[in-house]
Symmetry: C2
Subunit: 468 residues, 2 copies
Amino acid sequence: MARNYVQQIQDLPIGFQSSLDEILVGSSRTRSSNSLVTDSAAGATAFSCRIKTYNAAIAVADDKSPCGTVLEAAKLQRGMATGLVATSRITHATPAAFSAHVSHRDMEDLIAEYQIGNYSLGPVVDLMFGGGRCHFMPNTQANVSCRMDARDLWSEARAAGFHTLSTRKQFDDLESRSSAKKLPILGAFAPSHMAYEIDRDSASQPSLAEMADKALHILNSATKKKSAGFFLMIEGSRIDMAAHTNDPAAHLRDIVAYWDAVTVARKFVDEHPDTVLISVSDHETGGFSVAKQLTPEYPEYLWNPRALEHVRHSIEYISYKLLSPLAGDDQEARYKFVRDTVFADWLGIKDAKHEEIITAAQETDSTKLRQLLSTAISNRAQIGWATHGHSAVDVNLYAYGKDAHLLRGNHENTDIGKFIVNVLGLDLDSVSSKIKADRIAQGTQAVKETPFGSQDLDAPEHHLAAAH
Amino acid sequence: MARNYVQQIQDLPIGFQSSLDEILVGSSRTRSSNSLVTDSAAGATAFSCRIKTYNAAIAVADDKSPCGTVLEAAKLQRGMATGLVATSRITHATPAAFSAHVSHRDMEDLIAEYQIGNYSLGPVVDLMFGGGRCHFMPNTQANVSCRMDARDLWSEARAAGFHTLSTRKQFDDLESRSSAKKLPILGAFAPSHMAYEIDRDSASQPSLAEMADKALHILNSATKKKSAGFFLMIEGSRIDMAAHTNDPAAHLRDIVAYWDAVTVARKFVDEHPDTVLISVSDHETGGFSVAKQLTPEYPEYLWNPRALEHVRHSIEYISYKLLSPLAGDDQEARYKFVRDTVFADWLGIKDAKHEEIITAAQETDSTKLRQLLSTAISNRAQIGWATHGHSAVDVNLYAYGKDAHLLRGNHENTDIGKFIVNVLGLDLDSVSSKIKADRIAQGTQAVKETPFGSQDLDAPEHHLAAAH
Ligand SMILES: [Zn+2]
Ligand SMILES: [Zn+2]
């Protein structure tokens, strides 16, 4: 879908290959231990601990015992520098499964404690760039916290030696060579998730590619002298989230932003040929199809990339704006706002039907409003969705650099964890032994629903995020 | 989907790999010259002529000039034996694109003429196994013909030296070694398409694997002395058709039947290591998802293979039976027939709702009835569909044997044609020159709608097949 779009909109040759197309080596099978359809927690634990576990498990096995991760072992056994880059909250399932051990992904307050080293292993993550500052802030600071308690992990992190960052300026000021001395670094550039690429204000948040580039060079500088190397996990986290909302335009822009991060990482590999790059999804989201039949008659064979060209904001952003009091309660003004701003300016839909406009203007339920906006864009693009959840289909596996050929073919997702263990020469079981006494909270932690300001438009997702 | 099903129903280890999983090498990009979503004619022409052409084109370029195919060149330039095996009509788009040159796929009467050698090159296909006898029979034989004219191509084929077969017994009687002397062979085991695997009566029609096995060994025997080798195209044609009907159970069984054919072909390659096997789809069909959300609430992460386990017939078969007068017009008897035979026995659905039964019993429109049956199965399996047509997604590419590694990675479908040209050392342009004067019928041939008997349950598809 993204390749078709970029090729057509930029008028490139049909043979155009993305930075991923060029390094395809096979596919990954994604099922978890308790379902044919995985969630991101079990999916990431397959990579980090090379085991199948139950949906929602963060680096714990089926029996909830903690499993040592490749990140922890790389740090402890090889002296490697380690990093996590994500556009979600850094406490979200994927980065969490490399750096914490909890029985349920929703326990993000506890995950934050692990990430700053409050467990047997002490601090093992040298660098974190992402969103999710709210799980480090005490609940006494209502507008920036989503913690259930009053612990100030942000200050605790600083006390433990972390260099903390929360602004674009602080990010820009990090110079690669000298910053290596500042490790560990905790950079959280949004209270909750970072913005979708389509909504991102580049003056306030770095892109995924910028974070990836800086992380690669800081970690590389940090270990240059002792030649230990580094382990870095980079996630284009919101590709999945856009698909949960069935938002094809936000999905597309986050995919292309991810390609840019892959380009940055491939350049690093070219300059450091003893490096291996792996790119893989933990699962498919949305039951996505690059075709959608609109009428009962036999369908024409086409889809329409142009319908995504002039979309300016995510459905999440738009529905937030539409449901906020600011959008105006005067019916006529509201109708015009929906027609001229929402449909024409933000969705690039100039031919919205009266029925579409009036329904969107009157809808007060957030889920229904998003569905309605999704249908408006998806039907015009002829993009299909089967679910707001995940699906069981295999995902593409890409690899580049040293030993990449070993990943050719069709693999269980756990093979990717095994590959990392093998190429780095790690012993995960000995890490598991060290952490087996650590506190694994049982059951599901209550999640605080904090309505963030307009800078955190993803906030409505927060309390729905359990299964993502 | 098929792997999840087989693994779960047969209680195999999670790591179970199909005959295809083991030989995955990359992916194929499927767009045609005039659409992001290809049809099978343009898709097959990419393989046969290594060019992008317009949807519906059978081995002709955008300007409708004929393009020499790898099958023709293999025969003429390398003295190879050649074959086509399909479960569709042998005159259908995919086999046609290797053996005929017409401006529109619907011109199957003319395609049949090409296939028996009525053009500049004379007969180039040594062996054909499949369905589609009707396009070889004169329209004077109403029940077995779908030709517009009274030509008897079946007799013409025999006069031209073809050994013709139309029954399972004749197929079984073909012994590999002695049969090599009988080439060319035209075996058409059904008037139209052969049965879906789920409906197939093994006493009357061979399986795809049986046809593949016999074709491989006959063609191999035929060229053993001169070591010229052979080119064989084998299509599991009805995988696509089941997806057009959004019929997950028929789709599944035809996929597994295709795996069996791949197993047969891989065994041949193991015994003849100078052979290369390529397996690829021309496109995805149905906008298929291995997940379907059934309610507005956030979906559980699962799909249900068990719902496909007890399905006994294709939706095409069932809708044909339901719409035939034989099913009875007495309302109560009809209700019981739908409940006990259609839902319980044929679909394996014991919990059909009164509403489902009564709607199916009363529906007289074939398209609506199929949709209703598709929904009944697909919802219980939680399988999603976005269209009755094709989609633009990349498809998996598999290869095994000599030079298979050259196909690793992400490719345009035309690269697969180029690979065949290169490994066989062919010159397609010189073939194109030889056939450029051949009659390429312009425009769309009228297609005769012949209602076949119950042996040809796919007949309702026939006049809708234009875009498949
Ligand atoms: Zn998700
Ligand atoms: Zn088709």
